[in-house]
């Protein structure tokens, strides 16, 4: 038997699949052929090694890892399903939905970009409105601001020249802020102010703007003097219309009496509002009014009229405080402001009667 044919039967010989005659023939060859015998020994050894291979143990984390993978697959599968569901939508249904979403996004962006600048001012306003008094005072501040702007407007900008929006907006917001800040404490501290002496130089009985705002107005205006005059005239007219006290003095020399009254008013840190033929209108601090009235009696020439100094109007100093509250709560904003301002100063009409 040829060596090649014998070597082809090694597996069958090793597996004992050969017939006895076949097995005998191969074994005879192996005993006679040293080379084939060595080959079979090597084959046998390889087979013995191959069959001796043991099974490996599965790693411990095999099952837990399997569950993790299965969970991950489930999530991915559900995501894929939802994606495919959308893709499988018919185009006539999908297109309008996409279009609507696009339009909605565009409108949202436009809305947001438009709202952005307003959002800058809102927090300030919200801060102001947190006080109950400021709720009352804010529109007034806006009114005053408008008034100031109306007065400033023609002088500031030449006709036909467009006003820069940014400057306008900045001024408006700044003025509004100033007003709001100034007005809120004005109401809170009314009772306190009634006792305090007023500042020296300016008439403040019926002020609509505080000193800061006025100073700002002057600074911004190109014709500060004109503006101030107009403002003063306005104030005076308001004061003249509503004096809170009226005192009759009997005098012999009118000029002398007026000069005395001027000095007296100055002495009490008050101010002469108007001087007429029959008398004058003065504004004095409420705290020193009683003393001022006593001094007025000395100016009078006759003793008889010492008792003639009397109250003409219903608003006394005490009733002023109550009136203020009512005005704030129920009446219009302008009267409310006027009454509130009366608290700090008393306007006195002094009637001069020639003896």
């Amino acid at each position: 038997m040829e060596c090649e044919k014998v070597r082809d039967r090694f597996s069958s010989l090793w597996e004992k699949e050969l017939t006895p005659s076949e097995e005998k023939g191969i074994k005879d060859h192996l005993s006679s052929c040293r080379e084939c015998q060595r080959e079979f020994e090597r084959f046998e050894k390889t087979m013995r090694w191959l069959r001796s291979v043991e099974e490996l143990e599965v790693p411990d984390e095999f099952v837990s890892g399997l569950y993790k993978k299965m969970e991950k697959r489930k999530r991915m599968a559900s995501a894929e399903r939802s994606r495919k569901r959308w893709l499988s939508f018919p185009l006539p249904l999908k297109l309008p939905v996409q279009a609507v979403v696009m339009v909605a996004i565009v409108f949202l962006v436009l809305y947001l970009t438009k709202m952005m600048p307003m959002g800058v001012y809102r927090p300030k306003e919200a801060k102001q409105t947190s006080s109950p008094h400021s709720l009352e005072k804010r529109p007034e501040g806006i009114l005053v601001q408008k008034e100031v702007e109306r007065e400033r407007g023609p002088s500031k900008i030449a006709p036909g020249v467009p006003r820069p929006k940014d400057v306008d907006r900045a001024e408006t917001s700044a003025a509004r802020k100033e007003n709001l800040e100034a007005d809120a404490p004005q109401i809170k501290g009314e009772a306190k102010k009634a006792e305090e002496p007023a500042p020296k130089t300016e008439v403040k009985g019926y002020r609509t703007l505080d000193s800061r705002e006025e100073a700002r107005g002057r600074a911004l205006s190109r014709e500060p003097e004109k503006f101030e005059k107009e403002l003063l005239a306005k104030k005076k007219s308001v004061v003249a219309a509503k004096p809170s006290q009226e005192i009759v003095l009997r005098i012999s020399d009118r000029d002398k009496a007026i000069s005395q009254l001027r000095e007296l008013v100055k002495q009490f840190k008050g101010e002469i509002v108007t001087t007429g033929e029959n008398g004058l209108l003065a504004s004095v601090p409420a705290g020193s009014f009683s003393e001022f009235r006593k001094e007025l009696v000395d100016v009078s020439s006759g003793d008889a009229d010492k008792g003639a100094a009397r109250k003409q109007t219903a608003e006394g100093l005490g009733s002023l405080q109550e009136g203020k509250k009512e005005a704030i709560e129920g009446k219009g904003r302008e009267p409310a402001r006027l009454v509130a301002d009366e608290g700090s100063r008393v306007v006195v009409r002094i009637l001069l009667v020639q003896e």
Binding site: T46, S52, E54, V63
Partner: protein
């Protein structure tokens, strides 16, 4: 066949009905067989573990399509072999096997490098090599064979399948299985001899 115990028909039916406990039982009973086939086919335990998990996921997904519960073992082996073929292709594309050549020294599980000159099948192997080393040699030798040869050796000599089962799994007639198997064994012998030279 020195594999996991045969899975009961009821368990397979329960698993087909979607019972996860039945699936767990199948996993526990079959994981060793699947893992060992994968390990011998791929030559790496991490890859084998990952692939075995993939196999069981495939089983869970497709067991409802299994018509004959009695052929579950063959079906499972077939899925495992398919996964192994795909994985080897994938790894081959990634040059995973390129560093491994016949001239490389054999690395044992302990990390010791065994000089190939020490290997001599004509010497008494029991005295020269530990059992572990022999297994490592076989493992490395298997990786040097062609894929179909490796499959034959793994199924017949390591898993103990009959010629008929091997023929069914590989779609080969019994005679072809025998001849191919002999060729594979002779090649393995040659590979092992190659380690010595």
């Amino acid at each position: 066949m020195k594999t996991s115990p045969r899975i009961q028909r009821e368990v397979i039916e329960s698993c087909k009905a979607g019972d996860e406990r039945a699936f767990v039982e199948i996993v526990l009973q079959s994981k060793k067989k699947v893992f060992n086939i994968a390990y011998r086919m791929l030559g790496n335990s991490e890859e084998a573990k990952d692939l075995s998990q993939e196999v069981f996921i495939s089983v869970f997904d497709s067991i409802k399509d299994l018509r004959e519960e009695i052929k579950f073992d063959s079906w499972l082996t077939q899925i495992t072999l398919n996964h192994c073929r795909n994985r080897r292709k994938y790894l081959k594309r990634r040059k995973y096997f390129n560093s491994d050549s016949l001239d490389d020294p054999v690395e044992t599980e302990d990390g010791d490098m065994m000089p190939k000159a020490l290997y001599d099948p004509s010497d008494s192997p029991e005295t020269l090599y530990e059992k572990k080393m022999v297994q490592e040699l076989i493992q490395r030798g298997l990786q040097k064979l062609k894929e179909d040869q490796r499959e034959l050796l793994v199924l017949r000599d390591l898993q103990g399948c009959s010629y008929e089962e091997v023929g069914e799994l590989l779609g080969l007639p019994e005679g072809t299985v025998k001849s191919k198997l002999h060729r594979a064994r002779m090649d393995l012998k040659q590979v092992l001899e190659g380690f010595a030279h």
